[in-house]
């Protein structure tokens, strides 16, 4: 991430931080009006906070955002042996998976799927319809028959989807 980007994000961080104590709390995120009408707003906010904590500092903020860096072509072949960069395809998918998987058991159960679906959908769908859609989704992904989607199955379903592009924000370049 270039220097100017970091400066910019830091100034954004400080402007969000109303309490001016160097960390962001959930309320600071809630204050972003665009996020308020994002159906997945709560989940996204939660993704910033590490397990059990209520405050996130700038480092944590950047760490989460780093998942959304676009993947450069020259980076792909660079460092095969080192730790995988945060914005690799696999890590992006992991991030998305964690948004579904609330209880962190590494599986997306039908219940968790239904919750996310319900958040994303208007009021005109009945519960039964939603239930059958959720069933269908699990059926399409499930390979080992446990009626839940594990991370490997999740990856497999999305192999044709251009995740790199969908989970990249241009100006984090």
């Amino acid at each position: 991430v270039s220097h100017s980007q970091i400066t910019r994000l830091y100034s954004r961080f400080t402007s969000l931080d109303k309490g001016e104590n160097g960390t962001l709390s959930r309320e600071d995120f809630q204050r972003i009006p665009e996020l308020a009408i994002n159906p997945l707003g709560d989940r996204i906010i939660n993704a910033f906070f590490p397990e059990g904590e209520d405050q996130v500092n700038f480092r944590g903020f950047m760490r989460t955002l780093a998942h959304f860096r676009p993947i450069e072509d020259n980076e792909k072949s660079k460092d095969q042996n080192g730790p995988e960069p945060l914005n690799s395809r696999s890590n992006k998918l992991h991030f998305a998976f964690r948004l579904y998987d609330l209880d962190k058991d590494d599986k997306i159960s039908r219940d968790e799927l239904l919750q996310v679906l319900r958040m994303m959908v208007g009021v005109n769908i009945s519960d039964e319809q939603l239930g059958s859609i959720a069933d269908r989704t699990i059926q399409e992904a499930d390979q080992d028959g446990d009626s839940a989607i594990s991370f490997a199955e999740f990856v497999k379903v999305l192999e044709k989807v251009d995740v790199e592009q969908k989970m990249s924000i241009r100006f984090l370049h």
């Binding site: 309490g19 809630q30 997945l40 959304f68 948004l99 994303m120 044709k160 989807v161």
Partner: protein
């Protein structure tokens, strides 16, 4: 409009009417008296038909009515608007009308004169564009917009002018009498890009916001610059000798015209905002102030020969924010709708005139000139965009990709402005005026029809990386939408392009002085609270408490689930599911309302936002309680305005 047209058209008309030889000079006026000597008394007529009396308004009304009916027909087949831009339709209607008039009367139909266009038809269009311009986005990209508009237009104008002059020198084409200045003038008027058709197509292309604001902003500034250049070259053409001092005067004039116009616009914008502070007792005429002040800024600028277009744009952009807060909700809606209506009518009339005047005798066809004009327009636009982008990309944080450049270059459609400008050339100074008219019409038709229709398939072609023939699974739609929501959410957290020194300074100044002065009840509210207020949360909460929206999937559906026995679905059921999903999945919030001259697309988003907010009311209420104790902030009303 009517008076002006009457003057222009009366002569052509009255002679053919044949009823009133005596009233030929007037056109309107005295009711027909049956011819008779002074000694013959005429009986009282019980029923008379007096067409010339109402002729002009009657015909105009018919024209507008016909175009509007055509629009209804156009939208009946719902796939058509996404393939063919509306401008094509309007031109076709115009051609039809022109054909009818020509066929009926065997001569060219009436054309408009310069006052009608510049004083009546152009301002509504520009006002519409300026009022709905998302200001924050505009200023964030102002450098690039300015660069494309000014340097790009100059590049196009001079490039086309000089190359055409080169072509004219070749005596084989019979064009040697067109001077360099005339060519430059022609070049400047044909580089006026009118992206209305492209913007209509943009909604289907899913172009990113940056690109959208670039094209939009470029078109506005571009119009102003074209008009300035046009007037400049026109006066040059009419001067006998041109000294060096005149060229410098021209350049200075350019700047004065632009900046002067903007200043007038800003001044009147503030006055308008101030006026609306006191209008709460006379809500009914609130919209009138908006229109009057904008139009006043336009004609005041025109009075000083400054750029009226810049003035009205600046006025609209300035008063936008403040007026929105001062006027009532209903007035605000009225303003928006009335503005759309006016600009729609204006544009309709212009395109109809275009169609009408295509059919007629004021043409001169010259293969070389016309085809080279078209060629040079395309070449210089593409070159210009390419070269300029290379330079400006150095200064931008987010560089423009090849696809962006292609869209900008290919989307350079010509339209109403260049058409009007060519019609207003004084024929005394331009003996080959008819040739120019023909060339312009050909270029416009080509760009609007061919480029307008093909831009969408071409962009889709550029976009496709891997063609996936497999039938998409039901879940794929869900996943795609899921990712889009996440991405939008993270983008919102990042606050997009971050903060800008000047913008922050302006905001502080704005909060301290301007808002106090110009807005009636200026109580800074927390942004969530103001959102709530506008969404009539009481009603919403009642609806939610009565159980219409459930947050947790009901236990019934959970118990219906049989372990391991998921039955395979038939194709129709799959289709049903997919359809249900497509209809019901929430849309990504568009940060800027996509501009469409022909509609206001606010309602769907409003409903969606309401539902989401209700659902999240618990977590939001929590945060409300905590934020109320912290320092005040100003409401994010640009966002609210966009939402609502």
């Amino acid at each position: 409009v009517l008076a002006a047209l009457a003057a222009g058209a009366a002569e052509a008309r009255a002679t053919s009417e044949g009823q009133l030889p005596g009233a030929a000079a007037m056109g309107t006026g005295t009711p027909p008296s049956p011819s008779g000597t002074a000694f013959e008394e005429t009986r009282l007529h019980v029923f008379t038909l007096d067409y010339p009396h109402v002729q002009i308004p009657f015909e105009i009304t018919l024209w507008i009515l016909l175009a509007s009916l055509a629009k209804i027909g156009f939208h009946l087949y719902h796939k058509l608007p996404s393939i063919v831009p509306e401008s094509c339709l309007l031109i076709l209607v115009g051609l039809l009308l022109g054909g009818i008039i020509f066929g009926a009367e065997e001569k060219s139909p009436p054309v408009m004169n310069s006052d009608v266009f510049f004083l009546y038809l152009l301002p509504p269009i520009v006002l519409d564009a300026g009022y709905f311009m998302p200001t924050r986005l505009f200023f964030e990209n102002f450098g690039t917009i300015f660069w494309y508009a000014v340097v790009g237009t100059l590049w196009n104008a001079i490039g086309i002018g000089i190359s055409l002059y080169g072509i004219c020198q070749i005596s084989a084409f019979g064009l040697t009498d067109i001077t360099l200045l005339q060519n430059l003038l022609f070049g400047s008027l044909i580089s006026a890009v009118d992206p209305v058709a492209v913007l209509a197509v943009f909604e289907n292309i899913h172009v990113n916001e940056q690109l959208y604001i670039l094209v939009f902003g470029e078109s506005l500034l571009n119009d102003a610059i074209t008009v300035v250049l046009y007037n400049l070259f026109k006066s040059f053409c009419q001067m006998r000798t041109i000294k060096v001092i005149d060229i410098f005067a021209g350049i200075a004039n350019f700047f004065i015209v632009g900046i002067g116009g903007v200043l007038i616009g800003i001044l009147l914008g503030f006055v308008a905002a101030f006026t609306t502070r006191f209008t709460h007792k006379i809500r009914v005429i609130e919209p009138l102030f908006v229109f009057l002040y904008s139009y006043l800024s336009y004609i005041t600028a025109e009075m000083f020969h400054l750029s009226g277009i810049m003035a009205i744009t600046a006025c609209a952009m300035t008063m936008n924010k403040y007026v929105e807060e001062n006027v009532s909700q209903k007035s605000y809606t009225t303003i928006k709708y009335f503005m759309k209506m006016l600009s729609s009518v204006s544009e309709t009339l212009i395109f109809i005139f275009m169609g009408v005047s295509t059919v007629g005798k004021n043409h001169e066809w010259n293969w070389a000139f016309v085809s080279f004009t078209l060629l040079f327009c395309l070449i210089w636009r593409a070159l210009g965009v390419f070269v300029l982008t290379q330079i400006i990309n150095v200064f931008r944080t987010i560089p423009l990709t090849f696809k962006d450049q292609f869209i900008i270059a290919y989307g350079g459609l010509r339209g109403a402005i260049c058409f009007s400008l060519v019609f207003l050339l004084p024929p005394a100074v331009f003996p080959r005026k008819k040739l120019f008219i023909t060339a312009v019409i050909v270029v416009i038709f080509f760009t609007v029809f061919i480029q307008g229709i093909t831009i969408r398939p071409l962009v889709e072609f550029l976009d496709v990386k891997r063609s996936n023939k497999k039938q998409p699974a039901v879940s794929e739609e869900i996943y795609n939408r899921f990712f889009d929501h996440v991405k939008t959410g993270i983008e919102d957290v990042c606050g997009h392009w971050g903060h800008n020194f000047w913008r922050d300074k302006f905001k502080k100044f704005d909060n301290k002085y301007l808002r106090r002065l110009l807005i009636r009840e200026n109580q800074p509210k927390s942004s969530i609270v103001s959102l709530y207020k506008k969404l009539e949360i009481k009603h919403a909460i009642e609806m939610a408490e009565s159980g219409m929206i459930s947050k947790v999937p009901s236990s019934v559906s959970l118990s219906e689930y049989h372990e391991g026995k998921i039955k395979p679905l038939s194709p129709t059921e799959m289709e049903n599911m997919r359809e249900i999903l497509t209809k019901n999945l929430y849309q990504i919030r568009h940060r800027t309302m996509s501009y469409n001259r022909h509609s206001l697309a606010a309602d769907a988003n409003e409903k969606q936002a309401k539902e989401i907010l209700i659902r999240r009311r618990h977590s939001l209420r929590e945060s409300l309680r905590k934020t109320n104790s912290l320092s005040r902030e100003r409401p994010v009303l640009a966002f609210c305005g966009g939402l609502l």
